[in-house]
Amino acid sequence: MTATATFEKDRRDRGGPTRPVRHGSMSRDRKRALFWSYFFLILFVIFFLTPPIYMFITSLKSSTEIAGATNPWWVFDPTLANYEALLTSSEFLTFILNSAMVSVLVVSITMVVSVMAAFALSRMRFWGSATLATGIFLCYLIPETLLFIPLFKMFAVVNEFTGIQLLNKWYVLVLVYPTLTVPFCTWIMIGYFASIPKELDEAALIDGATYLQTLTKIFIPVALPGIIAATIFAFTVSWAQFLYPLAFTTSSDQLVLPVGIVTTLIKGDVYNWGQIMTGALIAAAPPLVIYAFLMDYYIAGLTAGATKG
C-alpha cells in the first residue's frame, strides 16, 4: 500500500470525508460582503464627519477670512483668536458652568429615580406594575415641543399661588429635564434588569439580603453596562437640550451652553461664525470624552458571562 493510500484509509477510519476536500468555497461571497460593508461604512463616515470637520476648519479662521471668497475647506491664515475670545469671556464660562451643573444634577436625579423605579417595576410584583411600566414608556413618546407649553403654564400657576418665580432660573431646568430622561432611562433599566436571571435575586433573598441590599449589592453591579448606557443617554439629552432652556431661561447669567451660544453670538443679523463654530466644538467635547472613556467599559461589561456555562 502506498503512503497516500494508507493516509486515505486512515482518514476514513477517523470518520473523515471519503472524497477530496475543496477549500475556500465561501471566500468569493465573503469578499463581496466585505466590499459592500466597507463601501457603506466609508460613505457614512464621510457623511457624519463632514460637519465637525467644517466646524473645526472654520473655528481656526478669522472673521475676515470667513467673509472672504477663499476655499472654505482650507485655512490660509490659522488663528486661535476665536478660542481665546470664548475661553476668556466670563459669559461663555458661565454657560459652561451652568450646563455642567444642570447635566450632572439631572444625570444623578435621573439615575437614582429610574434605577429604583425599574427595580420596583421589574422585580417587586405588585398590582398594576406591568401597566405602570408601559405607562412610563408612553410618557417618553410625548415630545418636548408639546410638554413645554403646559410646563410653562404650571410655572405661572405656581407663581400665582405661592409667589415663587420658577422662570429664568437655571436650577429649574434640573426639575424639568427629568421629564425627558427618566421615562427612557427607566425603560432601558427595566429591559436590563429583566435580563438578570430570577434565580440571582432568589439566591440573594435566601442569603438574607433585603430588597435594598439586593438592588445595591447585586443588581446595580451586574447591570452596570445598562446603567452606563442610561447615564450616557441622560447626559447627552440634558447637555444638548435646547428647547426647554430657550423657553424657560432668558437672562445671560442663567443660560446653558447651547442656548447661550446662539443668543449671544448672533446679534441681530450679524452671525459671528468663527466663534459660533468654536463654541459648538467646545460644547461637543464633553460628550465625546465621556463616550470615549465609557465605551470601553460598556463593551467590557457586555461581554461578561452571567450564569450559564
Partner: protein, 366 residues
C-alpha cells in the same frame, strides 16, 4: 434536629393547581429526592420549602417550627439552583461569603468557614476567580460551597446537574453524595432524572400531577412499585406494559395476551391474584432485564416465546432488543453474544418471578 414536614400542602397558581395536597416527612440528616416528569409540582414543592413561593393551604414545618409565613432568610436553608445563580461580579470567595457578610459574621470566622467548605469541594485554588472564569462543574461546586458555608438546617437542590454535560453529571453526582456523607445535613433534591434520584437518595419521592405517587427507598420503588406510573417511571429502559387477561385453569393462573401468547403465573402468587381471575382489564408488566435470551438451565417460572426483532441497540455490555408482542412494543435486554439481529426471529425468555400485574382502571399494582 432539622426534620422537614409537609402537611396537606396545596399550591394553586391563580386557579390552576400545581400541588394538590401532599404529606411528607423528611427525617433529620436524610437525603430525599423529589422526582417526576416536568410539571408534576416537584420544583414548586421545593420552592415552597425554601419560601420562594407562598403556599395556598397546608403547613410546612422545619426543625419543629411552622414556617408558612417565615421569609426565606429566616428559615435557615440554603439552595443550589439549576443555573448556579452565582453573583457574576463577585469572586468565588465573595460569592460564598455573601450570606455571612450580610449577617455580619466576624471576618476571621468567615474566612475559616469559606476555606473549610472550599477544601471539602476541592475549590481552594479558585477562591479569587470570578464565575465567568470557571467551568460548569466548578460553578456548580461554588454554588454548593455557598450553601455549605452557611451551615443551614436544610439543603435544597433544584435540578443542580441539568446544565452539565452527561459525563460531568455522573461525576458531580458522586461528588454530591460524598459531600452529603461529609456534611450530614437534611437534603431535599429535585430532579427529573430517575437515575439521579435512585443513585443519590435515601428515600425517593415520586410525584405526578401535583400528587405523591409513592415514597420509598430506591430498591423499594424498583422492586415494589405501587402504581403503574412509578413502575414505568423508575428504571431505564422503562418497564414493558401489555394489556392482558387473567384466566384460571385447574387451580393455576395464567396470563393471556390479546394476540394469544400465554404466560403461567408463579404458584406463590396464585393466592394474591386469584380474586382478579377472569378480569379482562389488567396490564401485564415486566422489566426489560427480565426479558432475556434463552439459556440451557431454564429456572422455574421462566417461559420461552418466539418473536421477530424490529430494532436492536448494542450497548456494549448488553444489547437492547425491541419487538412487537401482541400489539405492544416490548424491550428486552440480551447478551451481545446471543446474536440478536433486527428483522430476524429470536427465542426469548420471560422471567415471571419478577412480573407485575396492574389494574387497568385504577393503575394500582396488584
Amino acid at each position: 434536629m432539622s426534620q422537614v414536614t409537609l402537611h396537606k400542602v396545596v399550591k394553586n397558581y391563580d386557579e390552576t393547581p400545581a400541588v394538590r395536597g401532599i404529606d411528607l416527612d423528611i427525617a433529620d440528616k436524610e437525603f430525599v429526592v423529589l422526582v417526576g416528569p416536568s410539571g408534576c409540582g416537584k420544583s414548586t414543592t421545593l420552592r415552597m420549602i425554601a419560601g420562594l413561593e407562598d403556599i395556598t393551604d397546608g403547613e410546612i414545618v422545619i426543625g419543629g417550627d411552622v414556617v408558612n409565613d417565615v421569609p426565606p432568610k429566616d428559615r435557615d436553608i440554603a439552595m443550589v439552583f439549576q443555573n448556579y445563580a452565582l453573583y457574576p461580579h463577585m469572586t468565588v470567595f465573595e460569592n460564598m461569603s455573601f450570606g455571612l457578610r450580610l449577617k455580619r459574621v466576624p471576618k476571621d470566622e468567615i474566612r475559616q468557614r469559606v476555606e473549610s467548605a472550599a477544601r471539602i469541594l476541592d475549590i481552594s485554588e479558585l477562591l479569587d476567580r470570578k464565575p465567568k472564569q470557571l467551568s460548569g462543574g466548578q460553578r456548580q461546586r461554588v454554588a454548593m460551597g455557598r450553601a455549605i458555608v452557611r451551615d443551614p438546617k436544610v439543603f435544597l437542590f433544584d435540578e443542580p446537574l441539568s446544565n452539565l454535560d452527561a459525563k460531568l453529571r455522573v461525576q458531580m453526582r458522586t461528588e454530591i453524595k460524598k459531600v452529603h456523607q461529609k456534611v450530614r445535613t437534611t437534603t431535599v433534591y429535585v430532579t427529573h432524572d430517575q437515575v439521579e434520584a435512585m443513585t443519590l437518595a435515601d428515600r425517593v419521592v415520586v410525584m405526578n400531577a401535583g400528587l405523591i405517587e409513592q415514597v420509598g427507598t430506591p430498591n423499594e420503588l424498583y422492586h415494589h412499585p405501587r402504581t403503574r406510573f412509578v413502575a414505568g417511571f423508575i428504571g431505564s429502559p422503562a418497564m414493558n406494559f401489555v394489556p392482558c387477561r387473567l384466566e384460571e385453569a385447574s387451580g393455576a393462573l395464567r396470563i393471556l395476551l390479546p394476540g394469544g401468547h400465554a404466560f403461567p403465573v408463579p404458584a406463590e402468587r396464585t393466592e394474591r391474584y386469584r380474586r382478579h381471575a377472569g378480569s379482562a382489564d389488567l396490564v401485564f408488566g415486566l422489566r426489560p432485564e427480565h426479558v432475556t435470551e434463552t439459556h440451557r438451565n431454564v429456572e422455574p417460572n421462566q417461559e420461552a416465546f418466539e418473536v421477530t426483532l424490529e430494532v436492536t441497540e448494542p450497548m456494549g455490555m448488553e444489547t437492547l432488543v425491541y419487538f412487537q408482542l401482541d400489539g405492544a412494543e416490548v424491550c428486552g435486554r440480551v447478551n451481545p453474544a446471543a446474536g440478536a439481529e433486527a428483522g430476524q426471529p429470536m427465542t426469548l425468555l420471560a422471567d415471571l418471578n419478577h412480573m407485575h400485574l396492574i389494574d387497568g382502571t385504577s393503575g394500582l399494582v396488584l
